[in-house]
Symmetry: C3
Subunit: 252 residues, 3 copies
């Protein structure tokens, strides 16, 4: 479900479960975590790109597989999030297609993200009766200003690639068939520099916010646990299954 | 002086003292505070818009009425500011016209603000020998970057709608006659989502900065109290009354 | 090596060592520091502009003069940095040409910066096996968002004037021959306002981040001291002297 290729000192990790829109089941969380830990450990890898195959970057948690794991995942969601937060080398996202949920919030944990012109992103949390994750409620205001971040997190609306660039959520947008080449060019530019300087530069710029990221995730998880399975979350899920719009009026 | 209308789950609060450019006297502070507290208390209200009638959004404190209140206001300036800071539901500004002083700094306390193409904003504090308010000295750098915020707060210059959008002070600009419809469309998009998720999302994104907002307001108020009535503030007021440019040279 | 001119209440300090691209030797650090301290002390000076003569704004530390000072500088690098951090009046940079190293990172310590259309900036730290300085690892993410800041600090790439403006690193860009006039116009607009209000406004907006700036500089300096003279820094210097690309592969 994960492909790994090296081009010089740049490693590309590709989410490769296109029939499931690269959604994450327990195995996928573990496989991506292991791939990142391997890239972290290998001295020859200086810069890492994450991308996806098919129409989606990733649509986040695979709801159809929740509870189907035969045994508990080794790393799971917390393991992947912590590995991303602590990842010591420059980490770039090449967002090739749809990103939903964690497919959008992962941006906050990367050093920089680039997006295909046709890709779109959505944080559907409020439409599902829950709240953001991966510290997006802290990182998105920091990246986009609180106004654009609030709009994305309150509205559950789709953002097209130009909106993502203009709001500061991604660094640049490229034609679909140029995305990987453009991101690779930038990765190679960085990888030509001193490896120890790259690691220490990231530590200086991203390290000081790690504590705040973890505290925000804890706060988000506490609210998520409170709202998950509650009446508005259930109404949203039932509406989805019954192919109708949710009606939260009677519950408020 | 305040109009209130509901459209589904969206409440619009309209500052309606157009002959006074919607400037705030003691009654206006109390009325807006009461309107916000009512919107906060009513479960059916999920999203709130503040706008104004006439040529101005609001020109801030009505200097012509300072000291004219027969009895002290119930909420006053501190009551309104605290109500805005703690307001738990998405709060949108539809800036229909001129905004001066609090008519500009209120933006920092809202979740997102939109502006009519012909509207303009000004923070005239330094021209009056005083300093910013409503935590603008913290919130504007956070929203606009410190360079644009410093320019706005040091220069006392007017910002047109495009400058406000480009600098990140407002989220978007619309033709004057489309402003209210555009803001209402966005408000309805948000209001269709889970009410509890909206409230908890705002708590996660805006809550963690409330302490910093209050601390900044305290610092701003302390400086304001020190400068208000001082020689440079008096020179500015006298120059205004005498319809001449202030001359601070002999006072420095 | 430093020219000082006054236009009303605006003082312009010009780096004037064009044959050395206005690079800083020990004397230059001291002279600029003394010029800033004088501008700070004189009540008639309300706003200060720093610019340069010739093709460069400044290329930072003059490596060709390191170790050549007959006696230790009075202020040196720490003295200049501390003077910039604590400078109490609005401080504008008019970046007339190339800026490298401190010629770019100084932007974070100024209130606002403007750039000539043909000017370019570069933070070459990772290409030299070292890390950022002047709190750029904190201030650049705060100004540009972490993505553009990371790209600038990890890549060691040149940024042209438009990239600097779009990313938020400078406030505006002007044709080369209009730069000084445009910056002076803005400086005069600010200088017409109450001097005490300007100083207190800056204290409110820039003061609260000074502690974080100093802590970041300490962290940067500790990493710099660790990497300076190390194998990757030496490889970078040797490659430069031998006019070849550095090869960090064997050292990683």
């Amino acid at each position: 479900m994960i492909l790994t290729t090296d081009d010089g000192h740049v490693r590309t990790i590709t989410l490769n479960r296109p029939d499931a829109m690269n959604a994450f089941n327990g195995q996928q969380f573990d496989d991506l975590t292991e791939a990142l830990l391997a890239a972290q450990a290998e001295a020859a890898v200086r810069v890492v790109i994450i991308t996806g195959t098919g129409r989606a970057f990733t649509t986040g948690l695979d709801l159809s597989e929740v509870g189907k794991d035969i045994e508990p995942p080794k790393h799971g969601v917390p393991g992947l999030f912590n590995t991303l937060i602590d990842f010591p080398k420059p980490l770039l996202l090449a967002i090739n297609g749809f990103g939903v949920g964690f497919g959008a919030t992962m941006i906050g944990l990367a050093d920089m993200s680039f997006m295909a012109q046709s890709a779109r992103l959505r944080c559907p949390f409020t439409s599902l009766g829950v709240v953001g994750e991966a510290a997006a409620t802290y990182l998105f205001p920091r990246m986009m200003g609180h106004q654009a971040a609030n709009w994305m997190l309150y509205s559950s609306a789709w953002f097209d690639a130009n909106e993502c660039k203009e709001s500061g959520l991604v660094l640049d947008v490229f034609p679909d068939d140029a995305l990987l080449d453009e991101v690779m060019t930038r990765a190679q530019t960085m990888a030509a520099n001193s490896p120890v300087a790259l690691i220490r530069s990231k530590e200086l710029s991203m390290g000081p916010v790690r504590e705040k990221i973890r505290a925000t995730m804890d706060a988000e998880n506490a609210v998520y646990d409170e709202l998950h399975g509650g009446p508005e979350n259930m109404e949203a899920i039932n509406a989805f299954l019954e192919k109708r719009e949710p009606d939260f009026s009677k519950l408020a």
